[in-house]
Symmetry: D2
Subunit: 503 residues, 4 copies
């Protein structure tokens, strides 16, 4: 179930940007749009939030606000007030992977260069960050944080050598950066009056662009520029479905969007979009590669019913993230779908003390058993993933105490076995249930009557069935247009990384 | 949908208490149990939280902590630390009905009397509070708050006249109080080493008692006192199902629970348990009158399908509270159940500014449309209630923009038309959609293809079908044991109040 | 030296009130005036601050704000904003004597009575509080705090019996209260559109009234009512010098001030104004009994030079409170006055950990030695009082290390030996240095070359020399107008309490 | 008087460092020492505070904490807890000169370089900062703040080119830096297990080193290393008197202190120690150039009495900073010294609203008039400086209203007329009273009977009279040892800057 704090698995971040269209100063409340965007991406990171807005003038004025915690905590009304004069802006929400969750590591990063300030927000993790840090430092640059975002910013400033030109060639600098590091990043680079939206050649992290239309024009079919109030760019799609392609550099200005360059992958390499975006991270209403995440999860449930059928009376879900898979499983299996658990949305980490007795009471309080729905019945309980195995166990106990005669666990994704070096926080190999001796008898270990996982092949086929391959990769020669150039990163499940890792 | 902030309808409070069994000082972490209990009742009030613990010694030491906001905010670890020496305690969470949400109105109220301190926590609203305040003040008592809880506490201290006895007769005082005010209250009165749990003769507000059993003994069938770690008393049931009956005064001590008295209703009057506990307030896993709230809601959905069938393709819910009714509707109607909305649990009140444009964006961000599930289909959307009509409208617009060909609203409760004087906060008569001219064409007003409500009779029958009448009313002569002495308060729907209101 | 946190001796509180003159709503910013008044009284209590303002209408609206800590912390701008509609108001700052420094004990107390709300702020401590609490509780009133202020408020409401009159006789009630408790209190009672300023018959705690004059009229000699912007009442005098007399009840309304009654002392009793207000508590610029506190302190220094001359080179002070006495000592003795210590005003309690090493460093950092001024010299160091003896010791060490050849301590008040039951917090008898065996050789104990204290007689004569006895006691028959009816409470020095204490 | 908030003149910062002597891990509580040191320097900056501690191991671990406000606010106990494992550390307190008082500009700055992390704390302002920023950015480095400290850190990392050596030559890098920027800086550079203490060749900002001795050994005359618990380095001296000389680089390690290099000034240039450290900034007990600041201020008072005698009755001070000068004036003139004002130390900026009426009340409340001391007398009031003229005016009015027959202002420093580019925040030229037309009749403007300032020559002679020139400048050839190589920066008074300014 999608509870980062418990599973220990987490996305690194979400990025969001907005550029007002038309005349400036804009009437569009850019800071408000950014805050709504960041709330919409809050599930991708709850540790800190940062905003930078810019008036886009010559010379430009940048305004920054960063804070720890949820957007609603980190951005009191005064902060929004302070930021409100922006005509464009970028923001970032962060799930700390390292434990160093200090304010100074918060993105976006703003640095002053010979040509003025640039701001960078980054989702992902550079696979060769270590080598790049050395390179930058050998050049004589001191790095003040451990953040990849600062590293990217300094790399952008460093090569090619800075000259006192009127118009610095940021696109060339971004391309240089992309040559130096293959993956993973979805970047927003703001300079004066434009945002550059950049996705790595493997397309590992998602990035989408959308158009803000006046409410009154929402129903109009016209696509006229005159109806556009602004442009937004975001880690996830919400309403809008223009996907930034792997390797693409898109310039967003008040005049519209424009692809400036597409950096190719090495010959033969497939894209490597993170498959866990579908399984776990993204909102169910997000659209990636032309398909809705909810639909993929439902297909995973169906596939799971085929791979791991159960002799039982009812199918249910660990609310809320496993529900699409559970409904898919029910549809495929023909078993009735019911609810067995209700969730207390006020239960947080605060009161859960390291005391077994109270922890058990705590879990009991997080979920209530809807006893009458399943007493005397055999339950198939669908979960979206089991990472460490320590949260499903008390749920099974709860259901059995409340009268379930059998509880069969079906997991709508394969077991995680390997670390991710591309921006996902995964517990250490030792903590992963799939690598523990207990995994041999996982059903016994967690108290279930049976446990089965979706296969890697099953997951991949459920995902790839609906991919619109055109969206996935613009750089295809005319000859192989028909062939599906589809690929996804399954490194955490298979140990096969999209690029060779250098250390 | 269960969003107090938007519907404007709200429960006043939840009460919770705990007494450790066996030898004192207890090993049981009473303050922790209280905090878990209050988190479990958090849906009944988010404005403030208060705890009082007592060591139960002679003379007793009381420790109090109160704070604004959610339990997790109001009770930092230091506060729990401070409270931890309690062998018994009571707590309270509050939904302010009056706007005066200052700390000093927070319950429980503790006052020092000639016989020592008593603490009172109260759920409900005294129908004759105004007259009682006058009476107390005429006696020369100054009241420092507008809280009914302080009023109750002073009434308990006032009559009969205080004498310097060794053992004050609190039960007589509680009975006196009950004679003076018929409803509505579920009270916890803590004095030294006992808690008195009291429910008004009409049983308007719920109250339940439960037993804390060591985890290791949960499965043992034995009911032996020796297995009991403590007693809890709560507005809602969770695991436990001993209901405090209308008019009952139960003493909870470390030696167990004991009914001290049952104050009868006037001849001929029926009980008047608040029917909105089933419809709206309570957790779905709570058990009242022998039935699970979820099951009642499901029956309401079934009844709604009978009363208001729809020619449509799919049935869905406004998550999360309407889901049982939606599943009931689907089962009865034979239409398939799907999900059409996903909810962003991070959206709060903070960023929603009073600006139409941004409010609309805000609602859009609170719910995402699961487009692929319903595009091109006719949707029946079940909601649990429509109070002011201002939240369902943007949802309908969202679904239509995302491709629903028709949206039919079916509401699993009747329209609210009257104020409540028994502890429920209901918008003014003028704000209630059912009293507005627009209600004549509500479908047109909110943009739906049709709107239908459950009838009052349908709701009452769905509720009463499963009531265990024995539980509802212990005070029945042997002669009419067979007759169902069942009654529920439907005043907000019908204007028929259980007692005559004096002003 | 005046460091409450270290000496352990502290005043209980300060009270302040303001009534705008002329037409209401007033242009006078009453809440601002109150906050300035409270800051001016901040030295009398730093634990909490509370304000109540009232619009004075029929029926009146009262607005309350209370907070922990200094006025500047407890009253953020929002709070002042909230209070700003008052036409009159009272406020209170508190030095907790009991350790129970919770918000609910903060004054002023506001209670609703049959005739409407009254608000009470109190400086002092009722010598018979225990008996009065019993009396109130026997009447059936529950007391929600341990505060004398709540007790006073309930006593005012209780007797004589409340009747539903148009105009309640608060003056009669205040007189009743004064009959029941002889001392110590300076009270402000606010009801609707007036403030009653009340001082106990012994005049133990100070209270003064002043007139607010427009800045432009400050120099005008006219005393015309038309120049008055409002009236203030305060524990200390600042600019204004109308003293509320012992036993007096003064009504302050927008029309001016009026003595309503003077409650006499028992025949033969003298006034008993707290002598420590002169020695220690009050601001040096305050005026009591017609004389400036600074001048009294200077006289104490002179008297000390007569009683305890020293063979030394220079006289100095422990800054800042002992400076007037040191200057007096220098003038009388003819020795030159120099500074030997500079004080770091940023040193607070925060970093002083219970570790001898660091505590010593801490004290060192609080005072810096002005070495060049005294190296090689014999220093007479004047302190205003030595309560526990634990702060003067490191100062002596510091001076000696910095080169003083001798350090002689002269204390400008007698040793404290007895507890105070009238509102002053004094360490337990055991903690007082004067009651410890070490007092026999106090010089050796604290490392001084000699230590001498001012005598009780010396203190009393230094104080009484300048008293304007008319101001001290209005109730004098024409016959004894010439006799000095002067008296001061010296209970903490002599054990002679002004009234017999009942327990 | 020393009230930065009002005069608008302010020091930029204070730096402090500590290295534990002997075996590591040390028993010395380095973080506590740092916090005490920073509190002692709090008068040099109240806007923010930052600490970095280091365990000194290979590789070292650095721990950082920064916060806004006073040390006591910025460093809650948790922060000290977090920092406590340091064996050495540096810290910084800041008075923002630019208005950009965000957390990210707080010092010390820590950056990671090829050789590991270095931390830098800086007091002063680089006169050629603008050119240096350009130089660094031209090299391709992005600067994330406007802080000179970050600039210094990046300059240290940049030249000479970084090589992957075992032992980086930080001293060479520091010398390079010193070649590039002549003034003004007192720097602490921490790397692994040493702190480099650096003072610019002109010695514009102060810096001192001291030895921590166990309390038990304070009196021992021995200077043995074995008695040393640690070393401290600080902007001001307190107890210790080892001055870091102009141009000197001192290495502080657990083995002791060692001068590594002394960078000379250009031939013919004198030192340029900021003369306002004596007049205004430093604590009175600090020792610079072999003399105590208090003594210098007293000499200024004496000189002022010679230059500007007054026909008056008494001499007094604007507390607290002008007191030494006032005592000096009294001694020289033979007039008696008295106190005329008492100060309320609780008055802060909070309640002083931009409203003339309340501002006047506010000033009145900050100072109370000790009326009896001066009524009917002619007062000479000594102030240490008059910068904008807006605070002395209400004080004069207060004294006159309270009965002073004449008030003559004597200022113990010359008028400020020019901006400072070396780290002192001075109001704009237009705001300085000395540059306003009103200065022609300043006495009339501020309401005094006469106003006179100390002359520049008078100030310089009062300062230089006590300078130990050896301490001021170690780099003197044997031949001119007898000549006094003394110089002070008086740029803000005379417009003569120690180095030519490049823009």
């Amino acid at each position: 179930m999608m509870e980062f704090e418990e599973s220990g698995i987490g996305e690194e971040c979400g990025v969001f940007g907005c550029v007002a269209a038309g005349e400036w100063p804009t009437q569009l409340e850019v800071a408000q749009i950014l805050s709504l965007g960041l709330v919409a991406l809050q599930h991708r990171g709850q540790e800190s939030a940062g905003f930078v807005t810019c008036n886009g003038a010559s010379p430009p004025t940048y305004t920054t606000h960063k804070g720890m915690g949820l957007v609603s905590t980190a951005f009191p009304p005064e902060a929004l007030q302070k930021l409100r004069y922006g005509n464009l802006g970028i923001c970032h929400t962060r799930y700390s992977t390292t434990g160093i969750s200090e304010l100074q590591n918060c993105q976006p990063f703003v640095v002053d260069t010979l040509h003025g300030k640039i701001a960078v927000a980054h989702n992902g993790e550079l696979v060769n960050a270590h080598a790049l840090r050395k390179k930058v430092m050998r050049h004589g640059v001191g790095l003040s944080t451990s953040s990849d975002s600062e590293l990217i910013t300094q790399l952008l400033a460093l090569t090619p050598p800075m000259e006192e030109l009127d118009a610095p060639d940021w696109v060339a600098r971004i391309k240089n950066l992309m040559m130096e590091t293959p993956t993973s990043y979805s970047l927003l680079v703001m300079f004066k009056d434009v945002i550059y939206a950049v996705r790595d050649p493997y397309g590992n992290r998602p990035l989408c662009i959308g158009r803000l239309v006046p409410v009154s024009k929402l129903h109009s079919s016209g696509d006229g520029e005159e109806d556009t109030e602004g442009w937004v760019v975001s880690s996830e799609s919400f309403f809008f479905t223009i996907i930034v392609l792997p390797g693409e550099i898109v310039q967003i200005s008040r005049h519209g969007i424009k692809t400036l360059s597409v950096v190719p992958r090495p010959e033969g390499d497939l894209p490597a979009f993170c498959i866990f975006e579908y399984v776990y991270f993204a909102r169910p209403d997000s659209i990636f590669e032309g398909q809705m995440v909810y639909t993929v999860r439902q297909r995973c449930g169906r596939q799971l019913a085929i791979e791991a059928p159960t002799d039982a009376d009812v199918v249910s879900t660990v609310p809320e993230s496993a529900t699409p898979a559970a409904l898919g499983y029910a549809q495929q299996s023909g078993l009735p779908y019911i609810e067995v658990l209700c969730k207390n949305r006020y239960v947080g980490r605060t009161f859960i003390q390291p005391n077994t007795r109270l922890r058990q009471l705590g879990v009991a309080k997080k979920f209530g058993a809807l006893t009458d729905n399943f007493a005397g019945k055999r339950v198939v309980l669908i979960d979206d993933s089991i990472v460490r195995g320590n949260t499903i166990s008390p749920i099974i106990k709860l259901l059995k105490e409340a009268g379930a005669t059998e509880v069969h666990i079906r997991v709508a994704s394969p077991p995680i076995r390997y670390p991710c070096y591309m921006g996902i926080n995964i517990p250490t190999k030792e903590e992963l249930i799939a690598n523990k001796p207990e995994f041999q008898d996982i059903a016994g270990y967690i108290g279930a009557d049976s446990v089965e996982y979706l296969s890697v092949e099953g997951l991949v086929s459920a995902v790839q069935e609906g991919v619109n391959s055109i969206l996935n990769d613009k750089v295809i020669s005319s000859s192989n247009k028909s062939s599906k150039r589809v690929g996804h990163c399954t490194a955490c499940l298979t140990g096969k990384y999209p690029v060779e890792l250098e250390w």
